[in-house]
């Protein structure tokens, strides 16, 4: 079986099931707007301090929306024991994992499509291609890590507790580099190109590591 076709088929299945139920994206969009609201009241944001505070709110919101999104990636499969069925097919576990990761990143991109314009609308920060590029780059590595840990904790007690504990520390490199890039794209000092280079390095490292590990996580 062609692993690329398998990955696309799994991703298509996940996105189709999201399209039919329309549960996650509206809930996450509402979550994002609420997070921005809390950020506004927590920091008393005005046009002067917005560029220094908005990047922090962006990453905080994205990280917690991501945790919700990835926590659900293997949730439905676990409830209906459909992952076992998928693993019984000749499809390779890595391809199945890649498909799940693709679908989860698509959901996260949908959240970002709400988050970035809303951030710009509420806080008056610039909305530029440079910022979109940073966030998309970070999404790649964050999705790979989020998905693998979601699969790891799927069969453990207290999985809601463990997913953030395991995932957040490993997302920190993305937040460090991404935070620096978004800050410099919003006009604060810091090298944009260096941060982008770091993000690409982390993306490559974690995508390779997760692809190698996927076999051991799913192959039960």
């Amino acid at each position: 079986m062609n692993p690329f076709l398998v990955a696309v088929a799994v991703a298509r299945k996940d996105l189709l099931s999201e399209w039919r139920t329309r549960e996650m994206v509206p809930a996450l969009a509402q979550f994002i707007v609420l997070a921005l609201l809390i950020g506004n009241f927590g920091f008393q944001i005005d046009s002067r301090n917005a560029p220094s505070i908005a990047p922090g709110i962006l990453w905080l919101t994205l990280v917690f929306a991501g945790l919700v999104a990835f926590g659900r990636t293997f949730g439905a499969e676990r409830e209906q024991a459909s992952l076992e069925a998928m693993l019984m097919t000749p499809a390779s576990p890595v391809a199945i994992f890649a498909g799940k990761a693709l679908a989860a990143s698509a959901l996260l991109v949908a959240c970002e499509a709400v988050l970035l314009p809303a951030l710009s609308l509420f806080f008056g920060t610039p909305f530029s291609g440079a910022i979109v590029f940073v966030v998309l780059l970070a999404t790649v590595g964050m999705a790979a890590l989020g998905c693998i840990f979601s699969a790891i904790v799927a069969r453990v007690r207290a999985r809601e507790l463990l997913l953030p504990l395991l995932t957040l520390p490993l997302w920190i490199p993305f937040i460090v580099a991404g935070g620096q890039a978004v800050q410099s794209a919003m006009g604060l000092p810091g090298s944009y190109d260096q941060a982008i280079g770091l993000l690409i390095d982390f993306d490559i490292l974690f995508v390779v590591l997760t692809s190698l590990a996927a076999r051991f996580v799913l192959d039960e």
């Binding site: 693998i148 007690r157 051991f216």
Partner: protein, 233 residues
């Protein structure tokens, strides 16, 4: 009273650490700029290096477990993680005390401190996972993967002072920045700390072995007693 080899090893390791403390306080010269507080350096850096060593044990144990399902390797990994977290805690606490004296505050968010804190969180998370996951093959697999992913942070911590501009000082050993007495004290403390950590790992490995043996003995009996007889139709 019969003293077993673990107790002998522990006594030897503690004695070595006491000699190292004597060297730190009575042999090493006082730093002319920072004064007595600089003596934190010896144990602070040594315990960081011991922690790296422990996390390497976790990494290797995880890799060996994934390769040939050796539960002994998994026990080494568990032992390494616990001891590594303890030594990272020592590094962080001693570093904070030193920072309060020379920087004026316990904590600054520079790359070295942040990445070390992340390292602590990752392996504390490893210990939590091991506690929450059902013991056995699955827990060992999950632990192996967390240990392998977590190890990515070790080189980040180590090279953070080279890759980023940090308030934390850069390497002093390779840059030949220490007078000979200080260097000798440091190398001796490092040796003692590594021996101490190794002894702790070995003792913990023994505890994990006994625990695993107990579980194997207890579990089948529990399953048998819990099983209800099949109703005859």
């Amino acid at each position: 009273m019969k003293v077993n080899r673990y107790e002998k090893a522990a006594a030897g390791a503690v004695a070595l650490m006491l000699v190292a403390f004597a060297a730190i306080f009575f042999y090493a010269p006082t730093d002319w700029l920072q004064g007595a507080v600089q003596r934190i350096f010896y144990l602070h850096v040594s315990s960081a290096i011991a922690a790296y060593g422990c996390f390497t044990v976790v990494l290797l144990g995880g890799l060996v477990f994934l390769r040939n399902e050796s539960y002994a390797a998994d026990r080494w990994a568990r032992a390494g993680a616990l001891v590594g977290v303890i030594f990272t805690t020592v590094t962080l606490v001693m570093g904070s005390l030193w920072a309060k004296k020379v920087w004026g505050q316990f904590w600054v968010w520079d790359a070295r401190l942040t990445s070390t804190l992340v390292l602590w969180i990752i392996y504390a998370g490893y210990l939590l996972v091991r506690r929450l996951a059902e013991p056995g093959r699955q827990a060992a697999r999950i632990g192996a993967l967390v240990g392998i992913f977590g190890f990515v942070d070790v080189p980040v911590v180590h090279f953070s002072v080279t890759w980023w501009v940090t308030q934390h000082p850069g390497p002093v050993i390779v840059n030949d920045a220490l007078p000979p007495e200080m260097l000798a004290t440091f190398l001796f403390t490092m040796f003692c700390t590594i021996v101490f950590a190794a002894v702790l790992v070995v003792i913990r490995y023994r505890i994990e072995t006994l625990r695993d043996a107990k579980q194997v003995l207890v579990e089948p009996a529990k399953v048998v007693s819990a099983r209800q007889p099949e109703p005859v139709p």
